[in-house]
């Protein structure tokens, strides 16, 4: 993301870093005013893009609607999250969405952008005059605007017991349990998951059975603990998810691998669990 900013207004970046230590409200306004002052000194001509954003307010409940906002791409950052922050700063402060790290590591800003699930801070705004539609993660209960209810998703993650479980104590008590580099390499592609829920909410099987099917994210983490050489409860973990609904609702649709903003492949990990179930 940093590379994209080199050609653009470099002035905005230092201001962001300096205001990072201050309160969040101060941070909102400083980015907007900096960008505006830079834009006025830049060349003429606007580059307007329309964003259609899903709005629903529980305080004035009616039907949810897509509201249009026009943004000048010349004084806005390259990512969708920059556009959302600009809209919230300057046009409509009531727009509600989750965000935190703005660098694709926290997973808070997961939403559906132009039909594809992804992180708003990592999705570039598509150039051109086509309208961009931003809606919350599909088939999730909406709390307000783009904020969805993630409790079911987190409970499913909790249900696979994502911690190290051992029967025998460590060989050297008080010291870490040793693991070879080869065994550690088995965890690559699973430990990077940030629990953004993009994969689970892109899976049609998860849409139709959200309460009983665990979903690609939880199963990816289940495989992470099953494949961990330090964990001694492998058999029990496999038995716990050896269920018609928890695991076998997966029909290798593989929408999860397409949606993952970190480039992981939950479908592959689920296939690995299924193979272990077969052989075990």
């Amino acid at each position: 993301m940093a590379f994209g900013l080199i050609g653009r207004v470099v002035g905005t970046k230092p201001s962001r870093l300096s205001t990072a230590a201050r309160l969040i409200p101060a941070r909102w306004t400083s980015t907007g005013s900096e960008a505006q002052s830079k834009a006025s000194s830049g060349g003429g001509g606007e580059n307007l893009k329309t964003f259609q954003i899903y709005r629903w307010n529980p305080d004035n409940p009616g039907k949810p609607e897509l509201q249009d906002y026009k943004i000048d791409l010349k004084d806005c950052g390259p990512m969708v999250l920059d556009a959302l922050i600009k809209i919230k700063n300057e046009m409509d402060p009531s727009l509600t969405f989750r965000r935190s790290c703005r660098e694709g590591i926290c997973g808070s800003c997961a939403m559906n952008i132009d039909g594809c699930n992804g992180l708003a801070c990592l999705t570039k705004i598509e150039c051109g005059s086509k309208e961009t539609t931003i809606t919350p993660l599909p088939h999730m209960f909406v709390i307000k605007d783009l904020v969805v209810d993630m409790t079911n998703f987190y409970n499913q993650y909790k249900s696979i017991e994502p911690w190290l479980k051992r029967k025998t104590p460590a060989s050297v008590p008080g010291k870490e349990i040793l693991q070879s580099k080869k065994d550690r390499a088995k965890l690559d592609g699973m430990y990077e998951c940030i629990l953004c829920a993009c994969c689970s909410t892109s899976c049609p099987s998860y849409w139709w059975n959200p309460e009983s099917y665990l979903g690609p994210a939880a199963l990816l983490h289940a495989n992470r603990w099953i494949s961990d050489s330090r964990d001694e409860y492998t058999k029990e973990r496999l038995e716990a998810i050896d269920d018609e609904f928890k695991l076998y609702r997966c029909h290798t649709i593989l929408n999860c691998a397409r949606a993952c903003p970190k480039g992981l492949n939950p479908g592959k990990q689920i296939t690995h669990i299924k193979q272990l179930q077969q052989s075990g």
């Binding site: 629903w56 529980p58 305080d59 409940p61 009616g62 039907k63 949810p64 209960f141 909406v142 709390i143 209810d149 409790t151």
Partner: protein, 90 residues
């Protein structure tokens, strides 16, 4: 009695109300009255104000109520209290 045949959603609302009253019974007497008062005012207010066909909002309120009930059921929670907020249009 009320309606002759209650719809699924109406049954959910009633069972949530009953759940709240049962949870209130397990709390000390003074708090119990306060919980019952708050819950009954909230439910009566919503039953008058909310349109019967606004399913999305009713489901939203049901989910919110179920979460609050789960919190209330925990033995550490002593009582409920409510504050009246007047939304300003600025």
């Amino acid at each position: 009695m009320g309606a002759s045949k209650l719809s699924g959603m109406q049954k959910q609302v009633l069972s949530l109300y009953r759940g709240f009253l049962r949870a209130a019974r397990s709390k000390p007497t003074e708090d119990r009255k306060r919980i019952e008062m708050i819950v009954s005012t909230e439910f009566r207010h919503n039953s008058k104000e909310v349109d019967r066909k606004n399913f999305q909002y009713i489901e939203y309120l049901l989910r919110l109520g179920t979460k609050q009930l789960d919190q209330l059921k925990s033995p550490d929670i002593v009582s409920l209290s409510s504050v009246k907020v007047v939304a300003s249009k600025t």
